[in-house]
């Protein structure tokens, strides 16, 4: 049987082995009782013509083949219960798997040939009105800047209570503020960032309202939109939660 094969024509060692197996007309599982190992090794003379990466792939396989061959010459060690996969079996399995995907690739090619007569149009070109600048989600920096504005609008606290003796229970919690925001969003389609803080007077309430807002963003209950950079941020309902009894918030 005289035929010439060259390493360069093959897409890696598995491709070459599969070709040799097909040429020899043997079954994949009979690879080690055939001449294939010798044929493969004789082709390794051409390794110099390949680049280093490809050559090393072919060489690794050559080493595996020689290893399997040398094992077959030695008496088999007694089998251990949890032994690694036999290198011979492993190679046969890999070859079978590779062959399967090679054939699947050919099937895909047939499918694409069937689509070759199908064409589609390019999108229509027509002048659209100037695109509105819309940030689907306002950036964290802008959200922070807007919040600082709200805080600064309040008059500076003129006097610090002289003697702070009593510590009140938290008047405002994320949970209570969440309920308020949700109710507000249910009333109208959207609310601006500033409107949300209009009714609030105490600094703590503002802060907790802001925390609640962050929670709602994280839970995808609301969408923030900002039509222009540094413009008004509007808040719209997205996936409002009805019941959050089992949710845990950061201040709890």
């Amino acid at each position: 049987m005289a035929y010439e094969v060259h390493l360069k024509e093959f897409d890696g060692p598995l491709d070459l082995l599969l070709h040799l197996i097909e040429q020899a007309k043997v079954d994949i599982k009979d690879i080690f009782i055939s001449e294939i190992t010798n044929q493969y090794l004789s082709l390794m003379e051409e390794l110099d013509e390949l680049d280093m990466d490809t050559a090393s792939e072919f060489l690794t396989m050559a080493a595996t083949l020689v290893y399997i061959k040398s094992r077959s010459l030695l008496p088999k060690p007694p089998k251990e219960a949890e032994e690694e996969e036999d290198p011979e079996e492993a190679l046969v399995r890999r070859l079978k798997e590779y062959k399967l995907f090679k054939q699947a690739g050919e099937k895909l090619n047939e499918l694409s040939a069937g689509m070759r007569g199908v064409f589609s149009r390019l999108p229509e070109e027509f002048a659209l009105p100037p695109q509105e600048y819309e940030l689907e989600q306002a950036t964290a920096e802008e959200l922070f800047a807007a919040f600082m504005d709200v805080l600064n609008r309040e008059e500076p606290e003129s006097s610090i209570p002289e003697i702070a003796k009593k510590v009140d229970a938290d008047k405002y919690t994320v949970r209570t503020q969440l309920v308020k925001i949700r109710a507000k969003l249910k009333e109208g389609a959207s609310v601006t960032f500033e409107e949300l803080f209009e009714a609030t007077s105490v600094k703590l309430e503002k802060i907790v309202t802001f925390m609640a807002l962050l929670e709602m963003i994280a839970r995808q209950e609301i969408l923030l939109k900002q039509p222009t950079p540094y413009g008004r941020i509007t808040i719209t309902a997205y996936n409002l939660k009805e019941d959050d009894a089992d949710a845990e918030y950061m201040d709890e």
Binding site: D11, G12, P13, L14, D15, D27, D53, T54, E57, M61, R94, E97, Y98, K99, L100, F101, K102, Q103, A104, G105, E106, K107, L108, N109, L111, S112, A113, G114, M115, R116, G117, V118, F119, S120, R121, L122, P123, E124
Partner: protein, 187 residues
């Protein structure tokens, strides 16, 4: 909007767009429910096929597009020579088949099957929009998990991944061939 008008509106959007349009966007634009949308699409598809129209619908799980009817390609070619898309190289096809059947997969998974590096093939397939990153695998190095795209389905003319030729059938066809039986796996 009447039923016919809804079909008309969808056809009109698809014509203007040219590119595939996400079905949920269409649904939002004409304002119908999921079930209604599904029904409209199915009747449109049947109508176009029944009337052997020159324009057909190509529908995948996510998108819809107007495409030419391949039955008439030879007549088109009498007058114009549309640019044929190039076919894939062997290594690209093999890489793509591993991704298509095994997704989500990492490059290492592909290399394990093919025994060769796959950077180039993966890069090319990415560039052609056939595959995309689905996420990262939670192992050392957080390798990219690859999967096929909607463009992949359209290129190969299938509507969903379930329409890919079954691997078990490919395997069986092989053994039957060896046994010289005539019984071929149906396509």
């Amino acid at each position: 909007m009447e039923y016919n008008e809804r079909m008309g509106a969808i056809e009109c959007i698809l014509f203007v767009s040219g590119d595939p349009v996400p079905i949920i966007e269409l649904q939002r634009a004409i304002g119908v429910t999921d079930i209604e949308m599904e029904h409209i699409i199915r009747s449109m598809d049947e109508l176009y096929k029944r009337e052997k129209r020159g324009i057909q619908l190509f529908i995948t799980a996510e998108t819809m597009q107007l495409v030419s009817n391949k039955e008439y390609t030879r007549y088109v070619e009498e007058l114009v020579q549309p640019v044929q898309s190039k076919s894939f190289s062997q290594s690209m096809l093999e890489t793509l088949s591993v991704i298509a059947y095994r997704q989500p997969v990492t490059k290492a998974d592909i290399e394990a099957v093919r025994g060769v590096r796959c950077e180039y093939a993966v890069g090319q397939l990415m560039k052609l929009g056939m595959i995309r990153e689905l996420g990262r695998k939670n192992v050392v190095g957080r390798p990219m998990l690859l999967g096929t795209t909607d463009a992949f389905l359209r290129h190969f003319g299938i509507r969903s991944l379930s329409e890919l030729p079954q691997l078990s059938e490919i395997e069986n066809a092989e053994t039957e061939e060896n046994d010289n039986t005539e019984d071929k796996a149906s396509d």
